[in-house]
Symmetry: C2
Subunit: 441 residues, 2 copies
Amino acid sequence: MTHTEKTAGQQGSGRQGSGQQKPDHRTADETAVPSPSRRSLIGWGGAGLAIGAVAAGGAVAALRTGDDSAPVAESGAAVPFHGAHQAGIATAVQDRLHFASFDVTTTDRAELIQLLKDWTAAAALMTQGHTVGDGAYGGLPEAPPDDTGEALGLKPSRLTLTVGFGPGLFEKGRFGLEGRRPEALVDLPEFPGDNLEATRSGGDLCIQACADDPQVAVHAIRNLARIGFGKIAIRWSQLGFGKTSSTTPNAQTPRNMMGFKDGTRNISGTDTAALKQHVWAAEKDGAAWMTGGSYLVARRIRMHIETWDRASLQEQEDVFGRDKGEGAPVGKAKERDEPFLKAMLPTSHVRLAHPDSNHGIRILRRGYSFTDGTDGLGRLDAGLFFLAYQKDTRQGFIPLQRGLARHDALNEYIQHVGSAHFAVPPGVRDKSDWWGRALFT
Amino acid sequence: MTHTEKTAGQQGSGRQGSGQQKPDHRTADETAVPSPSRRSLIGWGGAGLAIGAVAAGGAVAALRTGDDSAPVAESGAAVPFHGAHQAGIATAVQDRLHFASFDVTTTDRAELIQLLKDWTAAAALMTQGHTVGDGAYGGLPEAPPDDTGEALGLKPSRLTLTVGFGPGLFEKGRFGLEGRRPEALVDLPEFPGDNLEATRSGGDLCIQACADDPQVAVHAIRNLARIGFGKIAIRWSQLGFGKTSSTTPNAQTPRNMMGFKDGTRNISGTDTAALKQHVWAAEKDGAAWMTGGSYLVARRIRMHIETWDRASLQEQEDVFGRDKGEGAPVGKAKERDEPFLKAMLPTSHVRLAHPDSNHGIRILRRGYSFTDGTDGLGRLDAGLFFLAYQKDTRQGFIPLQRGLARHDALNEYIQHVGSAHFAVPPGVRDKSDWWGRALFT
């Protein structure tokens, strides 16, 4: 058996032990459960002994608080993998991100399906703090380890793995999906000011890995890429070091690389009504296989921070329509005070992005700050990796961004350099289910 | 007064308040002190009011446990800035890194000196959890804020800022330092297998920012770059998401991107005798101004992780000379058991790097894992950003690396793609002192 044959999905079922069956029929996908650390799973093996680390999964117990509830969990805990919706959308935003976009290189539909099954099995393990398959050292000495090992000893860290399908997957002549492309998965229009790089845009598949420990997120992406060897290639990837949005009600809004709080009125992960209205795709919204899913827009937004840093405080506050210290809207005292839009400049970001200026449009944001070295001109390559979820991008990001791209005063200091659009299928219901099953069957 | 004139160093003295004078005469540079969060410093201002955030510095109290002691501090605490040695060397290794290398663009010695004074003042504030100067919103509305603001509300997070001077600073005709270059600051030789990129190598100045919160480290580098506007340009920078070494006695050794523990026998930050013998430059070691300093070698080591991930477990363990699960040396049970070098392959990494194979050479390692997107060939650009401190690089990294570059089995899976060498001056003694004073006066 070769390594590419011996993947997590094929091995996983025999390794997961009876204890791990328990969480499968939960429908709560947002409830974090305490879980033993990866460290506690490896103490039994001794030097080089082949003890399957995943057998310890029986220690994972489910805490139920109901659908769409998103309590702020302890940072080391595990977020349940199975549920009606994929975790990583309404989930309380974790601290760190590793996002990867892949080109599918295989032309074989069966191989693509097997990949999605293998990914699902590996994701179910990794999100619960387990190693993939036999683990880093539990297999045959002659075979490559099933898990690359760098997350051994680390806690589950609220890892969520969220898969998305890009437009290319539905192209005629590839995988027989040409009739299944959702209408909402449109090709994004070109917006004024866009300066998109092909090498930071698009992709057939994406994985969003969020965790409170970056090593756990990087480990997950790396192992999914490894499992896909020969079938996919990484097109681009993005590390995010600091979250810029919160989905937790009344939590402090994190600051972006401009030093401002933005997105105070983000959709809360516990607001079932708002999630239903704005985030979860419904059967009537188009493709039936997307029911319970969502549409993800990812934009790499470079900030010209050196220019921004030389702008006056007044200019900075005018641009956002907030004061810098507290984050309160113009003329108000507190961040969460309702903004009086007419008191703001017509070009201010808060005014332009507010639902009242956009026929009530709301999107769920969970973007991250990035800093990727330098740009060759002595400047930091830094900014915001914008991630937004919505039930239909045609009534979400697209009209919002049309307005912002034309009028937002912020445009002097930012530039969109990467863009991608994905259909994010519903959650994996149980162990017999897998990412995208409704699309392929 | 223009912004470039109005820098932190010139403003800081009037803003620091009486409470902040207290830490100055401490000599312990390794003792972490509890400190209020940046969040607690901003609650007073209200919307747009000009309250100097740094006034709260009086709340910082010093805990003394003696020189070179490096207790594992709570992750939110502050590490004292002043001391005989710079913090960030013997300090218990923090979780995250932002490292920046700068070209000095000014040709004016006085401007360079002023920059170092300004940097020192800003670093003394930021490491204690304060904003730079007037802060993000405390200044005149017509002026740019003194602090970019994205760390407001975050804890000190054990931030350390460590400065280094590259060989270029001592070139004839630049700053009158041609007679002051330490003999130990040699041009690094070319090692077999090196594939160095100029855009990831060298530099006149460096700042190593380590913190338990990456946003705090990024904020610090960004603000130091901002303060240097017009005098310096960022040559390259590197984010490290996970530490790969520990300087804490008997702590778990973190795993690198190959999934292995490496550097179990690192020099401990509390081992005063080993630090004196191997890390701190002594007067007799050359340039008197470097007494109490150290020499830093930074190497960006790309790992071919896709190839590594397809190597068998046996091959991986043979390469390191350890088992993957526990990290024990060949034939031993526990990570910290003394290795029996002759039981290992002559090409194994542990054997080749061990002091017994290198006439007792030891270096202090505090490297970090990195993942910087993709390399254009569908592979993650990932590896180890190696950072090593020693009292004399000619008796440290250079002979060690000569052996490793020739014989190490690991070379099949790694490549050195960036390299830099810096003289790291001694610590800033007190408020009247500044980074590099002994060099320039």
